[in-house]
């Protein structure tokens, strides 16, 4: 299993390298170190969100509210900044607001047993509505935001902007969380086989609750980073971005059926999408082709993952189907 996972990620890494090379053929400046740093920085919010989404998907759930949650936390952060609250408190408040929305998702899934897709569709709409209520539909613009608020993610430390360092830190935290904590193992157990998880003493609902809360908290953090990066807050911020986040996970080999996936996969999946997003404008592809290319990449990834995950022999009892599969491949 782990050998397969590794090969899948290696395949994705290879795809990223080949793609970057192909882009460089058409637009050499793309692989200039400064541009690669810029692309990584630009992808940072997606990486952060994809990791949060990953644990939710591992638990056989899905979180469609991440983008709306991000926008709500971002609006709260912007409004606090306008009110003159110091930056550390603003970031804390954004994370807390995001975690709260995530926790609401989690409680609804855990205690009321509502399907996650329905719960998060609901909270997605509620969060967008709340932004309108809070802001009165008005924009918070560049000049209303303080210099510290906008400057923090842009500050360069050891050659990288703080925004990129935050993404790296989140990746490292997730590596530890998934590998070395009971909760990290529980995510896999709950998604891989919920019944077996119950027998081993894992509370399925509680684990899902923590997954949603974690995803929400990261959406809150990304909310602050987003608003400070683009220096504007309004209702439609990051509209539709939840699909990019789910796509990054799928490309990264996180199984929508739950229980399979890795931090490296989600990270590389996000990076793959980030590179296409940054490259397509400079290689001069029409916007309609850009959408088609992104879509094709997702389908290709799913097709590869489906082939990969059929082999590990999850269907142990249906030996007939297994042999049929062997015969075909």
């Amino acid at each position: 299993m782990s050998r397969h996972l590794k090969s899948r990620e290696a395949l994705l890494l290879l795809a990223i390298v080949v793609m970057t090379g192909a882009i460089a053929l058409r637009f050499p400046a793309f692989i200039a170190p400064l541009n690669l740093i810029g692309t990584f920085t630009d992808t940072s919010p997606l990486i952060i969100l994809a990791l949060g989404e990953m644990v939710v998907i591992l638990c056989r759930c899905i979180d469609l509210s991440v983008a709306a949650n991000l926008a709500l936390a971002g609006m709260i952060a912007a409004m606090l900044d306008v009110a003159g609250v110091p930056l550390p408190l603003i970031i804390l408040a954004a994370v807390a607001a995001g975690a709260l929305v995530g926790a609401i998702n989690g409680v609804l899934v855990w205690k009321l047993d509502i399907p996650p897709i329905v719960v998060t569709l609901g909270t997605m709409t509620i969060a967008r509505g709340m932004i309108f209520v809070l802001s009165g539909g008005k924009w918070i613009n560049d000049q209303a935001l303080s210099g510290a608020f906008k400057g923090f993610p842009r500050a360069v430390v050891l050659g990288l902007p703080v925004l990129a360092w935050i993404a790296i830190a989140v990746v490292l935290v997730f590596v530890v969380l998934i590998r070395a904590t009971p909760l990290g193992r529980a995510f896999f157990a709950v998604g891989g086989n919920p019944n077996a998880a119950v027998y081993t003493g894992i509370d399925v609902g509680r684990t899902q609750f923590w997954a949603f809360t974690l995803s929400g908290a990261l959406a809150g953090l990304a909310g602050y980073l987003w608003i400070s990066r683009y220096a504007v807050a309004y209702v439609d911020i990051a509209n539709g971005f939840e699909l990019d986040v789910v796509a990054a996970c799928v490309i990264g080999g996180i199984s929508i059926a739950g229980g399979a996936g890795s931090v490296a996969g989600a990270f590389l999946g996000a990076l793959f999408l980030g590179i296409t997003k940054n490259a397509l404008p400079v290689i001069g592809v029409s916007p309609f082709w850009q959408m088609a290319i992104s879509g094709a990449a997702i389908l290709a990834a799913v097709a590869i993952n489906a082939r990969e995950s059929r082999r590990p022999g999850r269907i142990i009892l249906k030996s007939v189907e297994q042999t049929a599969l062997e015969a075909r491949t």
Binding site: F27, N35, D142, Q143, Y230, N278, P281
Partner: protein, 338 residues
């Protein structure tokens, strides 16, 4: 005594009548002061507060005009219908409205016109049956000309420009870009349009597209962004790429949104309709129609005071003028309004 009482009563009636008559005449004297209602999408919006300022300016110029500035508390057609009904009850002389729904307001505005009230729409129009005329902020050719002129003014030797638009299917933006290309061919042969890209009115995508333009075209001198989302994202991208001074961002934007970018120098100038002028022009038009100094009919010329005349097309739609250009000299003043 009986008689005296009768006389007294009669006297009283006459007095009342006289008083009544006097009141009527004074009311008539007041009625000469024309009451023009400016109905906006919702109260508390900076843009419309500025429209009111313009209307008041027109009123003080005209002298015998009273402006009733009103609107619902949120942007709904139902709210506007209630407001219009109360204006009909007060029998104002004219209504100038920026509509929340172009069709829903038609019946109530028809009722107002039936009672002899002049009805015009401005900014956001009402369907033809519900108003005598519509005053548009600007026209497609004028917007196109203004866009390329703002770019050209800051690049006297010509050079490369690129357009960062909303979505590839946005009707307004595409029409403006086409008009801009026509004006460019005719008047600015030294300017070369190298690319038109689309940010879909998403700040992150617009930012990324602007970054792409900056990287791909090292000689790029101007990014023209005819969308409020795109213009601020492009300005931010230019600032972050440290290209301020080398690349100028222009287009259509709100002063409150752009004031900081004008200060950093990322944007030298940008344009939008000036709401003060709009309020002024709408009031002048409403006055001229209500005072029977002009008649709303296709081809008619209607005066807008200092703003000149507007000529109505076959749908009784008139145009106020060119978009208003904001730069370092005036952006702070308007940033407080909208």
């Amino acid at each position: 005594m009986n008689i005296t009482r009768k006389t007294f009563l009669r006297g009283l009636t006459t007095a009342t009548l006289a008083a009544g008559l006097m009141m009527t005449t004074s009311a008539m004297a007041q009625a000469k002061e024309m009451r023009i209602a400016v109905v906006v999408k919702a109260l508390g919006i900076g843009f419309f507060d500025a429209v009111d300022k313009g209307a008041e300016k027109a009123a003080s110029e005209l002298g015998d005009v009273k402006i009733i500035y009103t609107g619902p508390t949120n942007t709904t057609a139902e709210g506007q219908i209630q407001v219009i009904n109360s204006l009909i009850a007060q029998h104002v002389d004219a209504i100038a409205i920026s509509a929340n729904d172009q069709d829903a307001l038609v019946p109530v505005l028809k009722k107002a016109m039936k009672r002899g009230i002049t009805v015009i729409s401005f900014d956001s129009g009402v369907a033809k049956a519900g108003r005598e005329m519509q005053l548009d902020d600007s026209s497609t050719p004028l917007i196109g000309k203004t866009l390329i002129k703002m770019a050209a003014d800051n690049m006297p030797d010509g050079g490369e420009v690129a357009v960062l638009s909303a979505s590839a299917t946005a009707t307004n933006q595409n029409a403006w870009i086409d008009a801009m290309k026509i004006a460019m061919k005719a008047d600015y042969p030294k300017i070369k349009l190298v690319s038109v890209v689309y940010g879909d009115d998403l700040s992150d995508k617009s930012y990324r597209q602007a970054q792409g333009l900056i990287k791909k075209y090292p000689d790029l001198k101007t990014i023209i962004a005819p969308s409020t989302v795109a213009i601020s994202a492009a300005s931010q991208a230019v600032e972050d790429a440290k290209m301020t001074g080398k690349i100028n961002v222009t287009g259509l934007g709100l002063p409150s949104q752009m004031a900081a970018h004008v200060k950093t120098g990322a944007s030298k100038s940008f344009a939008l309709w000036n709401p003060i002028d709009l309020g002024y022009a709408a009031t002048m038009v409403a006055y001229n129609l209500a005072a029977k100094k002009a008649k709303a009919a296709p081809g008619a010329k209607i005066g807008m005071g200092k703003m000149g005349d507007t000529t109505l097309n076959k749908d009784n739609v008139g145009v106020m003028g060119k978009p208003f250009v904001f730069d370092a000299s005036n952006v702070d003043k308007y940033a407080k309004m909208f």
